[in-house]
């Protein structure tokens, strides 16, 4: 179906960005634009749900490009809509949270911050809704560039160093991706996302297809798979809301989204299986899951620990896609929104702890459970979900991943099942100490140790969003049809594997 809605959704942040700049002298109006754009965009994105649920695909072509068979076009299919819903719903919450966070800490350059945030969301939503690789690449690069000012927000030498590292990884990745896009076009004459893969690619030479596959994989370095992950912990110098939305949702999820798109919609499950690439990818993902968790255990800085946890969790998505089985891909697709909600809760809590108590180190968090109960309870909920325990949504996605592993050929199935379970165990190992320290340990030296700093809950602007995301993490378990998520995933799986 042709419809303007995808374009309108993308226009929301695009229009909000200049408005934010224009009203730089009126903070309340400025943030008003962001919130208004966020709500409008979410409504628009959600309104496309029923249509997509009917199995229809909403298309909008902006213009024909100079290249034959490539339009600059948007396409809303079930999988894209999942990512779009995740991003747009969380943008509203994080914007609210940002207001509280930035104002409490009296951060400088807030206009630049909100401006760049709008552009980053523009990129993310564009990636979600684009109909072909070229369109996707354009938005991918917009994400990369627009998040730089957010990463280096503090403008300290450390932040600038982090920003440079960020570019040093992601810009070459962009070059690989561009090569992948053009090479795909050159090999097949199209770059459209096609459920089940582009037919012409299957007839291309296996060597070319393999090279292309790795170019794409390097191009999607935003997914932070090892050994190309170290930009992510470094980027944690950014303000917490940025880490939350961009490094748990928009940037990294765009990366894994791209990988799933590539496997299922460019190469096609059959071709990846035929070339034997799934095993390599699964090994990379498995390695990243385990090593990411180990690194996480070693971190004392809460944001760094969360960053390594993100690295580990992102590879669940990659692993699920690499299984190439119905349940595996389903788990991967489910893990994108579910992990987003849980991880954002954790990050928002980390930010609230920073604002409320000024603490970054886990070892110093003793007693916070009493002084900041709401924050710490939300944190605990999300942490339990992260480990894949019921009653949280992380359980559902991990369950499907396990089913996916089960369907594999004999030796691999067990191996990867073990990898998933070990990784989940490690998740518990690195999250449990935080909960334990916060709730069951008395602060050393009592209240006076804080240098007169009165520990209290963060402002309401911050508490509400993090409570909502925590609540949604449970809601998704109880009622996975929230925001059509599970229905959309089923439709996407139906498109890819046939049947229902």
């Amino acid at each position: 179906m042709e419809s303007l809605t995808p374009l309108l959704a993308i226009l929301c942040p695009a229009i909000a960005a200049p408005l934010v700049l224009l009203s730089r002298n009126h903070p309340n109006i400025r943030e008003g634009w962001t919130i208004a754009a966020g709500i409008t965009m979410f409504a628009l994105v959600l309104s496309m749900g029923p249509e997509v649920l009917k199995g229809d695909v909403i298309r909008f072509s902006m213009f024909h490009t100079m290249f034959k068979n490539i339009d600059f076009a948007f396409k809303v299919d079930a999988f894209g809509l999942i990512f779009a819903i995740t991003t747009s719903s969380l943008w509203i919450l994080v914007s609210l949270y940002s207001i509280g966070y930035m104002r409490s800490l009296k951060e400088h350059a807030q206009t630049r911050y909100f401006f760049a945030f709008c552009l980053a969301i523009l990129g993310a939503i564009g990636v979600a809704l684009s109909a072909n690789l070229l369109t996707m690449f354009v938005f991918f690069e917009i994400i990369t560039v627009s998040t730089y000012p957010l990463v280096i927000h503090e403008q300290t030498p450390e932040a600038l160093g982090g920003g440079h590292k960020y570019f040093a990884y992601l810009m070459p990745a962009g070059a690989f991706l561009l090569f992948g896009v053009v090479a795909t076009y050159y090999l097949t004459g199209t770059t459209d996302f096609t459920p089940g893969g582009i037919k012409a690619l299957a007839t291309a030479s296996p060597v070319a297809a393999t090279v292309l596959f790795f170019c794409f994989l390097l191009g999607f370095m935003k997914a932070a798979w090892m050994p190309f992950h170290s930009w992510l912990p470094t980027a944690m110098v950014a303000p917490t809301p940025v880490s939350a939305l961009l490094h748990a949702v928009a940037v990294v999820k765009a990366g894994v989204f791209g990988i799933v798109r590539m496997i299922c919609y460019i190469f096609g499950v059959g071709l990846v299986d035929e070339l034997g690439l799934w095993l390599i990818l699964a090994c990379i993902a498995g390695f990243t899951m385990i090593m990411g968790s180990f690194f996480a255990i070693a971190q004392d800085d809460i944001k760094k620990r969360l960053a390594y946890s993100t690295i580990s969790q992102l590879s669940y998505v990659i692993l699920g896609a690499a299984f190439l089985t119905k349940d595996g891909v389903m788990g991967a697709m489910l893990h994108i929104p579910f992990h987003a909600y849980m991880k954002i809760t954790l990050f928002l809590c980390a930010g609230a702890i920073l604002v409320g108590s000024g603490k970054r180190k886990i070892s110093e968090m003793a007693g916070l459970g009493k002084t900041m109960p709401v924050t710490m309870i939300a944190f605990s909920i999300a942490a339990i979900g992260m480990a894949g325990l019921p009653p949280l949504c992380g359980f559902i996605s991990k369950l499907y991943l396990c089913f996916g592993a089960w369907e594999l050929h004999p030796p691999y199935g067990m191996i990867f099942l073990a990898v998933i379970l070990i990784s989940s165990l490690l998740d518990i190992i690195y999250f449990f100490p935080i909960i334990h320290t916060a709730f069951f340990r008395e602060p050393e030296g009592g209240e006076s140790a804080n240098g007169g700093y009165k520990i209290k809950e963060a402002p309401i602007f911050m508490l509400v969003p993090l409570s909502i995301t925590a609540a949604f993490s449970i809601l998704f378990f109880i009622y996975p049809h929230t925001f059509y998520i599970i229905d959309l995933v089923k439709i996407a799986i139906g498109e890819l594997f046939g049947g229902g």
């Binding site: 024909h64 100079m66 000012p149 280096i152 403008q155 300290t156 070059a175 090569f179 053009v182 050159y186």
Partner: protein
């Protein structure tokens, strides 16, 4: 004869005529000199747009000077390629002249103003002459007019500019001699100077040593004039010390017209058949271009002076155009890249030089290390610089991205995979040296000097800001423009006019 057929001749002669009028007017009233330069150029811009329209709708314009039929007389031939270049030429010139008014008032003493504008006008006339002519020797004449005026304009600033200009005079003259030698031998081999005529006569003598030598000499001559690596060494000094508006003009327009000579000779005189005849010649051109692309960027990384950095960046960017030429016998996308990058680079580099010029104009800052906090004090100029720099890096949706995309596609289409890697690498090198500037301007923490410590000059005059903003906006608009299929008629017309045999 229709008026449209005479447009090229009108533009060139009247432009030339105004070169002298400005001098006369300038003696009467110095202020008038600027207006006598700007207004005719705006008129020429309109005329050149009409020319382009005529060429695209009706067909190639041919004008015989004095009614003498070619090959005896001098013929002006305007097809899609040079009509397109003519529009770019006058468009950029008009913008830079608007910018230059206040800049020149500050950088150059008042008594020199009439001569300055007269020289600019003559240079523009020379460039327009090169663009429209269909005669090899006439092209040399215009080339010398454009070059001599450029030497003088670079020297206007005095001081170190004199030495830079002197270097340029020597190198430029050597280049001109190479060119005229080549033309001389071609004449000896074919007995004609008219391009269209020569094209017909040339295939018989493809294997003659004379023609081979002529080709080599002409290419070397143009390489010097268009500062293509490794013959670029006169250029960084010239760009650095010339008045800002002249740097901008030479970087965005002068070099383009020089490389147009190469394009015209390769496609319309020697033709791609000649290139294909000597197997490997196209690849030699490609590799020279590739070396330039990388070397220019590497040199640029080392620079601290913003204008010098931009100068080396131009060396690199001209490699892009040359690479497009080298790839065009193998893929039609090569020529598309050339066509697109001529415009894109003119816009991007023009914008960068104007912004750099305004930093120098306003704050006297040319050293990148002193750029901290510039974005606060000069938001518009910094913004223009940032957009153009992002475009140079080739991030979508900007003009530079389109150029890069076409070139990569051309390399793949031609099965010349190493160039894909070189192009992608070059984008990253651009990132290194441009992002360093953006970082300084926007992101490095900077303590504002206390109020009153330094007198704050009033903002940049609108006449300087506006042209920059137009160019910066164009960086993005063109990026989208080249992605759409709107320019397809133009490109197909250029492809068929240059008879590459390819169509998209």
């Amino acid at each position: 004869m229709l008026l449209a057929d005479q447009l090229p001749a009108i533009i060139v002669t009247v432009a030339m005529f105004f070169g002298f009028t400005i001098l006369l007017v300038g003696y009467l009233n110095r202020r008038l000199a600027f207006w006598f330069s700007l207004i005719p150029n705006i008129a020429f811009l309109i005329l050149s747009i009409l020319t382009l329209r005529h060429v695209l709708t009706v067909g190639t314009i041919k004008y015989w000077q004095g009614g003498w039929r070619p090959p005896w007389g001098i013929e002006y031939v305007v097809d899609a390629m040079n009509a397109y270049l003519l529009v770019i030429l006058f468009f950029i010139v008009v913008l830079i002249e608007i910018y230059s008014k206040r800049n020149v008032e500050k950088e150059i003493e008042a008594r020199k103003h009439p001569t300055f504008y007269a020289l600019v006008q003559l240079m523009v006339a020379g460039l327009a002459g090169i663009t429209v002519t269909g005669d090899l020797f006439n092209m040399f004449v215009w080339l010398e007019i454009a070059s001599l005026t450029a030497y003088a304009l670079i020297a206007v600033a005095g001081g170190r500019a004199l030495r830079a200009s002197y270097n340029y005079v020597i190198m430029g003259s050597i280049g001109a001699v190479f060119y005229i030698f080549g033309v001389g031998w071609m004449y000896a081999a074919t007995g004609t100077l008219n391009m269209a005529d020569m094209r017909i006569l040339l295939p018989v003598v493809y294997d003659s040593r004379l023609v081979q030598m002529a080709f080599a000499f002409i290419v070397v001559g143009i390489m010097i004039k268009a500062y293509i690596f490794p013959l670029h060494f006169w250029q960084p000094d010239a760009y650095t010390y010339a008045p800002s508006s002249i740097s901008a003009m030479i970087a965005s327009i002068h070099g383009k017209v020089m490389i147009y000579i190469l394009i015209r000779l390769v496609y319309s005189v020697f033709t791609l058949e000649f290139i294909r005849h000597y197997i490997g010649l196209d690849l030699i051109i490609c590799w020279v271009a590739a070396a330039g692309i990388l070397a220019g960027s590497v040199f640029a990384i080392k620079q601290r002076n913003i204008k010098r950095m931009l100068a080396y960046s131009s060396v690199s960017q001209f490699g892009y155009i040359l690479l497009g030429i080298g790839l065009s016998p193998l893929s039609p996308w090569g020529l598309v890249a050339v066509v697109a990058h001529i415009l894109n680079h003119a816009v991007m580099k023009g914008c960068l030089f104007l912004a750099a010029g305004s930093f120098i104009h306003q704050e006297g800052k040319w050293d990148i290390r002193h750029f901290e906090g510039l974005s606060k004090r000069m938001p518009w100029a910094s913004g223009a610089f940032a957009i153009a720099a992002i475009s140079m890096i080739g991030i979508p949706p900007t003009a530079g991205f389109a150029s890069k995309l076409f070139l990569i596609l051309a390399s793949l289409d031609a099965a010349q995979y190493p160039f894909v890697i070189i192009l992608l690498l070059s984008g990253l090198l651009n990132l290194v040296y441009f992002w360093r500037v953006i970082d300084r301007m926007y992101f490095v923490r900077h303590e504002e000097p206390t109020e009153g410590g330094k007198e704050r000059a009033g903002g940049l005059p609108i006449s300087m800001t506006a042209p920059m903003m137009v160019l910066a906006a164009l960086c993005i608009i063109l990026g989208l423009f080249w992605l759409t299929d709107i320019p397809m008629p133009l490109i197909n017309q250029i492809l068929s006019d240059l008879s590459t045999g390819g169509r998209l």
